[in-house]
Amino acid sequence: MAFTSLKGLSLYDKVTGSWGRSAVIGVPMVFLLAVFLLPFMVVFKISVSEMETVTFSEVLTWAEGVILLKVNLGNYISLTQDSLYIQTYLSSLQFAAITTAICLLIAYPFAYFMARSPADKRPALLMLVMLPFWTSFLLRVYAWKMLLADSGVFNNMAMALGLISEPIKMMNTPFSLVLGMVYTYVPFMILPLYANLVKMDLRLLEAALDLGATPWQAFWRITVPLSKNGIIAGSMLVFIPCVGEFVIPELLGGPQTLMIGRVLWDEFFSNNDWPMAATVAVVMVLLIIVPLALFNKHQAETAGGGRA
């Protein structure tokens, strides 16, 4: 038996080994190259060119046998000198971080109880988490406007009940922005956490209790460390899109809520300064990718190829 299975494996390897395995990695690589790297290169090119009335200058020109490479770093320099951009970046990172933290606080207990609920009830709970995706995201965010406005549902109700005498300003504040982002992104935190927690070996918790840990200690010493990968995955899925979020700040944000997505929009479509807008975009990508890459490298090194 061992012989045949060994032979079967080698046959499998022969068929798939040489090109099969590289195809498995290669296809997504080519796809990412086409849909991410190439557009990024285009944006990068725009960011180092100059604006000319309606179009922008070519970076590479060919004239009379001379290749001219004209890289304009002016936008990058002005970016670092204009405190508005720096503040906007910081503010974006801050809002994204707050949103991620609140999402984690809400999603962890939610995912935990979902994972510990009877196996036959889990698909229904999973459906409920994904239910909001069935209606348009735009519509749902817009609905919050109705709820939070000065003469919105919440204020009217509170005033009718006599809890407050005049409406509380909720719309177009950091509160409404973070609320909208938490509301939108919390499923993206729940799903990876649930996927991680549901796989956990519950005997490990019994072993912890057996060794004298209270249920609370077992949770912090065993469950939380073992769900680290779920926490990281969920946090990335929330944090990254939140940094560049445009629609929610546009609909629910206000003058106090500087977000890089809106600055980007303004540069593109109000100021019509495409190179500047492209510069803002490139810096945003670098701001997110560089720390993530460093973090991943660190993770890979400490894990040492170990299992989750």
């Binding site: 004298g212 840990a213 065993i222 460390p225 170990g306 299992r307």
Partner: protein, 384 residues
Amino acid sequence: MATHSHVQPQAGTANGAPFLQIKRVVKKFDDVFAVDEVTLDIQQGEIFALLGSSGCGKSTLLRMLAGFETPTSGQILLAGQDIVTLAPYERPINMMFQSYALFPHLTVWDNIAFGLRRDGLPKQEIEARVAQMLDLVQLKAYAKRKPHQLSGGQQQRVALARSLAKRPKLLLLDEPLGALDAKLRERTQLELVGIIEQVGVTCVMVTHDQEEAMTMATRIGVMSEGKILQIGRPDEIYETPNCRFVADFIGSVNLFKGNVEVDEPDHVVIASPECKHYINHGITGTAGMAVHVAVRPEKMSIRQTPPLEDERESLAEVGFNMAQGVIQDLAYLGSLTTYHVQLDNGTMVKVTHTNAARHAAIRLTWGDRVYVWWCGGDVVVLTR
């Protein structure tokens, strides 16, 4: 098979009461009795094995000792104290889990220190105890490894060290060697017993492997359908089973159905379709009662020629405890050969013959007509 050579357990605790007392413990899941009125006393220093097939309730009983299940009714006393209401983390009991349940994110050292840290012991004390445990299981060099970087046998030793680190009053072993391959298991059984005896901890283990139970345990409780059928030393369980289930579950056995014909205080005669059985000890039964005569395969002799007078010790009449048949099948296993013989009335019996000499004078083979006989002192009469 019964090769245990342990020190016999002490008679009891100081005041004479057994160390662990399980009193009329019942566990019901919905309407099913997982454990059905089990009463069991375990002495200090004993290694007690609960033996049974899966679903017999042995694991549920063990989990009640650990505190993961609450008995529906009954008492569990450890050193005289009722522990039923204590949470698992409050009991002076530690368990070595089936397939170990080592914490994958912690090193060997941290796994062993886990319980000690929960007790809030001073740092030096923890370091000393972990070092002592690593010494005991000979894993000093592996302290910084994660569980997945260890072999199965090493993981088993880490699990043992972790469960012994808190110096529990009672150690529970759930299928302690089930995850190891056969060769390693044999060596580890004795190693494990050695360590447990060195520490001197009272131990209750659960296993479905009778060889494991017989090698490691001082006493065995055979369980079936939530009840303990028999409790005894390994040799008692094997040589004097008290019912057909135990006789059949431990090793293999030939069962002859028959009726008591002669019932005397010093001997009985039982008539079965195969032959008449002369048993040279009395039984608690009455004439005419339906019983089973159990004969172990290795207690039977097999040959093509009939037994001589002196080979049939203390038989009152010739013709008892003997039958003729044809070899239907045989399995040569090296140290012994197993013959499957169809007796003349159609009953199949199993006879094992030790291959003491390299070249036996007469080789038996398929289709040979043979005599099978056994001694009246080597059989057990089972009334249930």
